[in-house]
């Protein structure tokens, strides 16, 4: 059924279709609407789940872990400071291999205090062992809510999954969204079954300590499972397309990159504007392309290198900065290019921090700068040359 929904509302609809049995969450702008909608659904009986009101984000994820350890599907959602507050539990959930799904509304981190969108919250947690996907629009948000459980709970993966939505730009913007029927969703997503649970018939010791002799083997296995998610993502998308008629493109989403000389790599909601500008530039004879990263973990290193290897220059546009170095997405992309022996010049563009707008003109200038070779290695959009040192 077609509905007019915000990103947050679309995600909540997706979660209703995924039928989690436990939802534990603490509200935080700009995620609040997800929590509100889900609590209304539980209240009106359209979602048969326990909604547990917790006193913090640390508790929200701890609670979801307890539910997952009892063998049920669990959901939580957060943003920014909330994600940082639950950081300790992120590592517990991934190490325990609990396939919890979390929605994170990408928002800047204090200080200065700010509620608007950038991606520094989730990108700071790339090493926490969670699968990380970045949605571009409300439809993809809803669809990822369903697909995330399929991937996370797959027997070969069993890894928690974080779906990221750009704060306000995506969470609060209304779009036309196709909300699938519950019967269709049931066909796509089977009920959760696991051996990794508290079971009286098969008593287990769970969430224990492991000394130096075995600890690194656990960590290796966690790492290997993350890579096993790659074929499962494709499998989920193929099944999704068969049932719902929408085909997604795996870890990346390439637009006119086949013959592109200048490729802009980015993630999240800004990608739509970037594609529009690539089209405008192509009308002027500039072969521009856009590569949207859909998954930061597992990281599509080979795909990125393969896609950009024929280009003349590459720009990485991200709403993130790792202070004292460069944008983290850029670091990841550069490593991918270097490992694959791809020597295309790559430039980093940092923008959108604290929700600052990345304009049409800003993106045109990115393409102009990488085309003319006047870009610095790391560029801060909107900060003048000379100030930028």
């Amino acid at each position: 059924m077609e509905k007019f929904l915000s990103g947050d509302e679309a995600f909540a609809e997706g979660i209703r279709l995924a039928c989690p049995e436990v939802i534990s969450a603490y509200p935080i702008t700009p995620q609040t609407i997800v929590v509100e909608k889900l609590s209304e659904m539980v209240e009106d009986g359209s979602l048969d789940a326990e909604f547990i009101h917790v006193e913090s984000e640390h508790s929200a994820l701890s609670c979801a872990m307890g539910a997952s350890a009892a063998g049920v599907r669990a959901f939580t959602a957060t943003s920014s400071q909330g994600l940082l507050y639950m950081a300790e539990c992120l590592y517990y959930a991934s190490g325990g291999r609990f396939p919890i799904v979390m929605m994170n509304a990408n928002r800047s981190t204090a200080l200065p205090w700010n509620i608007y969108g950038d991606q520094r919250d989730s990108l700071s947690q790339l090493d926490s062992g969670w699968i990380q996907a970045y949605a571009e629009n409300a439809q993809e948000s809803l669809d990822l809510a369903l697909m995330s459980y399929y991937i996370a709970e797959h027997k070969t993966v069993s890894t928690p999954f974080m779906v990221n939505l750009d704060g306000f730009i995506l969470t609060h913007t209304y779009e036309q969204v196709d909300v699938p029927e519950p019967e269709q969703a049931k066909k796509f997503l089977p009920p959760y079954e696991t051996e990794n649970k508290l079971d009286l018939d098969n008593p287990k010791n769970m969430a224990f300590s492991a000394g130096p002799d075995t600890n690194y083997i656990f960590k290796y296995k966690e790492h290997a499972a993350m890579f096993r998610a790659i074929p499962v993502i494709r499998e989920a998308e193929a099944k999704f397309a068969e049932i719902f008629g929408r085909q997604y493109t795996g870890l990346t989403d390439a637009y006119k990159t086949e013959d592109a000389e200048y490729i802009l790599i980015t993630l999240g909601s800004i990608a739509g504007l970037c594609r529009e500008i690539a089209d405008t530039l192509r009308e002027k004879g500039i072969k521009a392309g856009v590569l949207r990263i859909r998954y930061m973990r597992p990281f599509p290193a080979e795909e990125i290198a393969e896609t950009v290897k024929q280009a003349k220059a590459v720009a990485v546009l991200e709403k993130d900065i790792s202070f004292g170095n460069e944008g983290t997405v850029f670091t990841n992309v550069n490593s991918a290019l270097h490992s694959a022996g791809v020597t295309v010049p790559a430039y980093n563009f940092i923008g959108g921090l604290g929700g600052r707008n990345i304009s049409h003109q800003n993106i045109i200038e990115i393409f102009e700068k990488i085309q003319s070779g006047t870009a610095s290695r790391v560029n801060f959009i909107g900060i003048e040359e000379g100030e930028n040192s």
Binding site: G95, R97, N205, M206, A207, D213, K221
Partner: protein
């Protein structure tokens, strides 16, 4: 009362390490009483078998045998909670030698 027994520690190779952080319950490979500086000692004359110490012991090392509290010194850490909670005053704490 079922209590796990100390077993020989296996050598874990790559294949033995589980995917998730879980393992069969009751896999107990060592005692851990080495850090005890004081030990609870039960007076069988005073003990009335009320089981309060059994309920309060944080490490589950107290069992009730023939209606009297019995402490498993292989696992008692000497915290003294049993002594504090014992209403008849049947559990005293003695310095380890």
């Amino acid at each position: 009362m079922i209590k796990p027994t100390v077993r020989e520690k296996k050598v874990f190779g790559f294949a033995d390490v589980p995917e998730d952080t879980s393992f069969e319950a009751g896999y107990l490979v060592s005692v851990n009483s080495g850090w005890r500086s004081i030990r609870p000692v039960v007076s069988t004359e005073k003990c009335i078998g009320c089981m309060q110490c059994y309920l309060y012991c944080p490490d589950g090392v107290i069992s009730i045998q023939e209606n009297k509290a019995v402490i498993d010194y292989d696992f008692c850490k000497g915290c003294g909670i049993c002594s504090k909670i014992c209403k008849p005053g049947a559990i005293g704490m003695e310095r380890e030698r």
